[in-house]
């Protein structure tokens, strides 16, 4: 009986030792991959930071209105954030590559899915940035045009345009990421429709006088309003 126990125990220990001997090189490979990945990710981060500083990415981000959003959320600058993002994505990629070497069943499929997801994540980030840039540009253009045309509440108009573009961009981003596509589609439809209805009602209720004045100014001749346009600036 005692011999049997010792035999089973020693066999189990041998199995463990064999398994460990089988796993150890893979763990070492994983650690090497993770270390090499850290070095490569760090180098990529440094190179990217130099490039972004060279092209004045922070200024671009400021123009896009992204810097204000980041400051409000107590996050670092856009350059730093993007560098960190690239660093972690690159390092995580190497770590997962290393984990896949371990040959753990089920994990490999998840890792493959993660790598397939990466390009979509990059495209989504790119779309988001361009969207913020477009939202900032068009809302500023609307604000300036409204102020110069003496339209009442120019900031509301500008904010409405900015919100519409951001909502539109967010729906594209979520669709690109494949997250809650149906929910986002319905949410976008509701939000956009509500915004349009709200604007129409607001213009109809609050802008009656404005519309009347605009139409009178445009089509009714005779009583010419005295304003600075009676002078030629040139």
């Amino acid at each position: 009986m005692r011999e049997m126990i010792v035999s089973e125990l020693s066999q189990a220990l041998r199995e463990i030792a064999r398994g460990f001997a089988h796993l150890l090189p893979r763990v070492i490979v994983m650690l090497i991959l993770a270390s090499a990945g850290w070095v490569i990710a760090y180098a990529a981060k440094a190179v990217l930071r130099s490039i972004l500083r060279l092209v004045k990415f922070d200024k671009l981000s400021e123009n896009a209105g992204a810097t204000q959003l980041l400051t409000r959320a107590a996050l670092p600058s856009a350059t730093e954030l993007l560098c960190r993002f690239v660093f972690w994505v690159a390092w995580l990629g190497f770590i997962l590559l290393g984990v896949s070497v371990l040959g753990i069943m089920g994990l490999q499929e998840q890792i493959a899915r993660f790598f397939l997801f990466l390009p979509r994540l990059f495209v989504a980030v790119f779309i988001m940035f361009l969207g913020l840039l477009a939202a900032s540009f068009f809302s500023r253009a609307a604000l300036l045009a409204a102020v110069n045309a003496n339209v009442p509440s120019p900031r509301v108009l500008s904010l409405a345009i900015r919100s519409m573009i951001i909502v539109f961009v967010l729906s594209i981003v979520f669709e690109e990421l494949g997250l809650a596509e149906q929910t986002m589609l319905v949410a976008f439809g509701i939000a956009f429709g509500a915004m349009m209805l709200g604007l129409a009602i607001a213009f109809g209720m609050g802008g009656r006088d404005l519309a009347r004045r605009f139409l009178e100014k445009k089509f009714v001749r005779g009583t010419k309003e005295e304003n600075e346009d009676d002078l030629s600036p040139l």
Binding site: A141, V147, E226, E228, L231, S232
Partner: protein, 441 residues
């Protein structure tokens, strides 16, 4: 000696041939237009008349031009070049149909040389830069010695304008002649409060009307500007006439000015202020970067030779809604705070916000603050802190504030006092030039 002259003539001929080939290769001038130009041969005087739906006035303008040629240049070969921006009212036909004989019964004058009118459609919509380029290219092909550009918007063109704009070029060797006008003390505020003082302070020359639809220029100056690579950039379209003047100043060409008489502002009233700002401030700001070597070294300012008076002011009463100007300024400063925060210094913005809160009687936008504002906008334009066009648009409410102060200050002012006020502003622009240079670096 004869060989040297012959060689110089050959070199000049070769250069002209190269330019003609280049123009043809660029496919810029149509074959038909080039053929018509070649049929004309060489000319002494070229009159550029860009049009767009000007059928109502163009007949009398062409006749005034012809009378001007007959009176001032009867022995010279002359041509009218009419680049048309897609008129649908038959304007080009009216330009080419008016014959030289139509002017003779009233003038009793006779041209001793040839006189032609050529029209070409350069686009289906008007573009001042393309129109000017067409005129410059035609002048190059025809080897015109002196050229003048006139605007069909100026309904009061007189035959004497041609002698006044062309004479100094054709007879006295000037390269550019800009006009001066008689106008109401409150007309042309963008010229008197921004363009003239800033151009004068930066480039050191007192050119009263650096941006004008009427000006005369020599063949060499036209060729030099034509060769500059400014034509393919759409952003350079607005205010090309100003770029032309600044290019002449930077190139140290001989510049003069002639008094033309009253400025007809009827067609310009109600003009879009933002468009006017793009044509003047926008063009000036964008010219500062390539022109930095020229303007950064200029100090003080010098008067330029002037035929006639350099400025006449009409003092007739004119009712202007100053309250609306001030309100639009205050609203602009309040609403555009985020835009101004990215293009103006904190101290300037704080000062603007302070005066925006002042009541109607206390409101005052001082010259020094106005100059600092304009210089900071120019520096921001160069750095492209936001869209350049947005920077120019942001100037509109600020200009309204400055215009309001100018109107209040000069409400009961005499011609001399108005001139003193403009001179004071010019000196302020000159005094603060180092501030712009400091921001530039």
């Amino acid at each position: 000696m004869e060989t040297t002259a012959h060689r110089a003539a050959s070199q000049k001929h070769a250069a002209v041939l190269r330019t003609e080939m280049k123009l043809a290769e660029e496919n810029f001038l149509t074959d038909d237009f080039l053929r018509q130009l070649i049929n004309v041969g060489e000319v002494d005087i070229l009159v550029g008349l860009p049009t767009h739906n000007n059928a109502k006035t163009i007949g009398s303008i062409v006749q005034a031009i012809q009378r001007g040629i007959l009176r001032g240049f009867p022995r010279e070969r002359a041509v009218i070049i009419n680049p048309d921006g897609g008129s649908r009212d038959g304007t080009p036909a009216l330009v080419t149909e008016v014959s030289i004989g139509d002017s003779r019964p009233t003038s009793n004058l006779h041209a001793l040389r040839t006189f032609h009118s050529i029209s070409t459609k350069y686009a289906s919509s008007p573009a001042s830069d393309v129109a000017l380029r067409t005129i410059l290219a035609a002048a190059e092909v025809l080897r015109a010695k002196a050229c003048v550009v006139l605007s069909p918007e100026s309904a009061n063109i007189e035959p004497e304008w041609l002698s006044k704009l062309l004479g100094p070029i054709y007879r006295d060797g000037f390269d550019l002649v800009t006009p001066t006008y008689r106008r109401h003390k409150f007309e042309g505020l963008l010229i008197t409060n921004l363009l003239y003082p800033m151009t004068r302070a930066l480039y050191g020359l007192r050119v009263r009307e650096a941006y004008s639809p009427e000006f005369g220029f020599s063949g060499p100056l036209g060729s030099q500007f034509l060769e500059q690579n400014v034509w393919n950039d759409a952003a350079n379209g607005a205010g090309v006439e100003l770029r032309f003047t600044l290019s002449a100043i930077a190139g140290k060409y001989r510049i003069g000015q002639s008094f033309l008489g009253e400025k007809d502002s009827a067609g310009r009233r109600g003009a879009d202020l933002v468009l006017a700002l793009r044509q003047t401030a926008g063009a000036l700001f964008s010219a500062l970067e390539p022109g930095f070597p020229a303007w950064s070294v200029a100090t003080g300012s010098q008067p330029i030779p002037t035929t006639g008076t350099d400025q006449e002011v009409i003092l007739a009463p004119l009712r202007v809604n100053r309250r609306r100007l001030r309100e639009m300024f205050s609203t602009g400063v309040a609403e555009l705070g985020s835009v101004f925060a990215s293009i103006l210094s904190l101290s300037t913005l704080a000062e603007l916000q302070r005066i925006a809160r002042l009541g109607e009687d206390e409101f005052h936008y001082p010259a020094e603050l106005w100059v600092r504002t304009v210089y900071e906008l120019a520096a921001s334009y160069r750095k492209s802190v936001i869209s350049r066009d947005h920077i120019v648009q942001a100037l509109a409410p600020l200009f309204r504030g400055r215009a309001c102060t100018f109107l209040m200050e000069n409400r009961n002012a005499s011609a001399g006092e108005v001139e003193n006020s403009i001179e004071g502003l010019c000196i302020e622009f000159e005094r603060l030039k180092p501030y712009l240079l400091q921001m530039w670096e």
